[in-house]
């Protein structure tokens, strides 16, 4: 049994009277990749921010092991172009030596961008540099917010491969947000399907069979999924019979 790094118990969060997350209970374990999937506006990023401690829950608790070191890869880093900063310098902001930065860039496969100005990196290079920054502090928990965004198909496969390798070399737990389901499915241990509440969760092959998952993502399990229900503007599921199905792990009414 793998050690639990972070444990959320009945966590809820409301922004401007809109319930973004309701009654979320989940665990992140050492050595496991947990993937959050769900439609836009489902609360994935908010859940990530709760786990990172950037926001606090309204109700519920988040327990973390005492020696938790978190590595974070944000969706995007927008540095004002008036700020001159090299890639190496960007990495060194994580309080690491020049050599460690070099090694991290080597690990993600782009040692050549070391002296490239940060804002001249290509989309794929940028994602790898952000991944490199996230591993610099030797984290036991990696939090990756859409790690392959803006990367072409082959690059996505490579990045997921890299993330899988990092999991074993760092022996860390990984939480990542993803949109592209079918690539993720092969690279993950645990999938949580989120739409303000946890619709369903489990091993990828279980989740893809779950009616709640199919309700949201359709049977092709591909990003261009066929919806068998509509969402209201608020993101609520409007099923034909006015309700939506609940998965096994679902705790709301």
């Amino acid at each position: 049994m793998n050690k639990s790094l972070v444990r959320l118990k009945s966590v809820s969060k409301t922004f401007a009277d809109k319930p973004i997350l309701q009654n979320i209970s989940m665990e992140i374990n050492q050595g496991e990749i947990t993937t959050l999937i769900g439609p836009n506006g489902a609360g994935k990023s908010s859940l990530i921010r709760l786990i990172l401690g950037l926001i606090t829950p309204d109700t519920g608790t988040i327990e973390k092991i005492p020696n938790l070191t978190v590595g974070y890869m944000p969706q995007k880093v927008n540095i004002d172009p008036t700020l001159p900063i090299s890639t190496c310098r960007f990495l060194q902001l994580a309080n690491t030596s020049h050599e460690e930065c070099h090694n991290a860039l080597e690990l993600v496969g782009i040692p050549e961008v070391k002296n490239t100005p940060f804002h001249k990196l290509s989309g794929g290079e940028m994602q790898r540099v952000l991944l490199a920054r996230s591993i610099l502090r030797k984290p036991n928990l990696l939090v990756l917010d859409e790690p392959v965004q803006g990367v072409d198909f082959n690059g996505q496969n490579e990045l997921y491969g890299l993330i899988g390798k990092l999991r074993s070399s760092l022996n860390c737990g990984i939480v990542m947000v993803s949109h592209d389901l079918h690539l993720v499915m092969s690279a993950t241990d645990h999938v949580i399907c989120l739409n303000h509440h946890i619709c369903c969760q489990g091993k990828p092959e279980q989740v893809t069979q779950d009616p709640a998952y199919l309700d949201i993502f359709g049977e092709t399990a591909f990003y261009n999924h066929k919806h068998n229900h509509q969402h209201s503007l608020k993101g609520e599921v409007l099923d034909s019979d006015g309700t939506h199905r609940h998965g096994k792990g679902c705790q709301h009414d």
Binding site: R49, L52, G53, L54, V70, G71, Y72, P74, V77, I79, D80, T82, L83, P84, I85, S86, R89, F90, L93, A94, N95, P117, K120, R133, R137, V143
Partner: protein
């Protein structure tokens, strides 16, 4: 103007040296601080703080307290108020700043106009009065500038970190709110001190233009801060020289010098 009237005697050399030293002191700290104003797009923040300095003068005269203290306190309070409002997120930030900035400026002008028995030189408040700097002003300017430079140097790394990506900085253990508040307070302090040099309407220019000029020729944040300081110092020297030889107002001449240096910098191919 005043220069000619008093004649260019030995006393004038003293005046000029005081003015030069005061200008150079402010220019030194305007470099690194101006870089943050540019990187973090805080120009409007700077304007708002500068305009509130005028309100500080008015209140200082009204309550009969030292003007330097009144201006500094009002600027610092305004900075704290802005930090609090920024976190509220009630209105778009630029709208909010626009309201505060111009209200503070207008309130300052109205209060000053009501003080009919005391003569306040509005032009020198708005555009600076570098040539009237006294030895005691120099002390205030150098103390303020030294405090600001020491704080900037101490907080340099976390400041760069939160400017690059504040969430990453927070996850890596930097207290983002405290660092940001510190930067606002440093900005307020420098503006309070710089008011004497270029006046409330031109302070932001002294922060932004040298930093923007430095950007073209620099590849690291540190070199940009240094070159911005040197550019600001060169602007002070040439602005004062213009004031001395062709009798132009010192504050605006400094800003024009900085603007010319910026135009000159456009000739360089951007590094990095």
């Amino acid at each position: 103007m005043a220069l000619i009237a008093m004649g260019k005697g030995a006393n004038m050399i003293d005046f000029l040296i005081y003015a030069l030293l005061a200008g150079l002191g402010v220019a030194a700290v305007a470099g690194p601080l101006g870089c943050f104003v540019v990187w973090r797009r805080m120009a409007y923040f700077g304007d708002t703080l500068a305009h509130s300095a005028l309100l500080g003068v008015a209140l200082g005269v009204l309550l009969n307290i030292d003007l330097g203290i009144a201006v500094t306190v009002v600027c610092l309070l305004m900075a704290l108020g802005l930090v609090a409002l920024e976190q509220q997120g009630v209105l778009a930030l630029d709208t909010l700043l626009g309201i505060l900035s111009h209200s503070a400026l207008a309130a300052g002008l109205v209060v000053i106009s009501l003080l009919s028995d005391i003569r306040v030189d509005l032009m020198s408040l708005l555009f600076g009065d570098l040539l009237s700097v006294t030895a005691s002003d120099l002390w205030v300017i150098y103390t303020g500038a030294a405090v600001a430079i020491i704080l900037l140097a101490t907080l340099w790394k976390p400041l760069i970190s939160i400017t690059v990506e504040h969430d990453l900085a927070a996850v890596e253990g930097i207290n983002v709110a405290r660092t940001r508040t510190a930067l606002m307070l440093i900005t307020a302090l420098v503006i309070a001190v710089a008011m004497k040099i270029v006046g409330v309407l031109l302070i932001t220019a002294l922060l932004i233009i040298p930093a923007a000029a430095a950007r073209r020729v620099c590849a690291t944040p540190e070199s940009m801060a240094l070159i911005a300081s040197l550019t600001a110092m060169a602007s002070v020297i040439s602005g004062l020289a213009a004031s001395w030889y062709i009798d132009t107002p010192a504050g605006p001449s400094i800003v024009i010098s900085a603007a010319l240096l910026f135009c000159f910098s456009l000739g360089f191919k951007q590094k990095a």
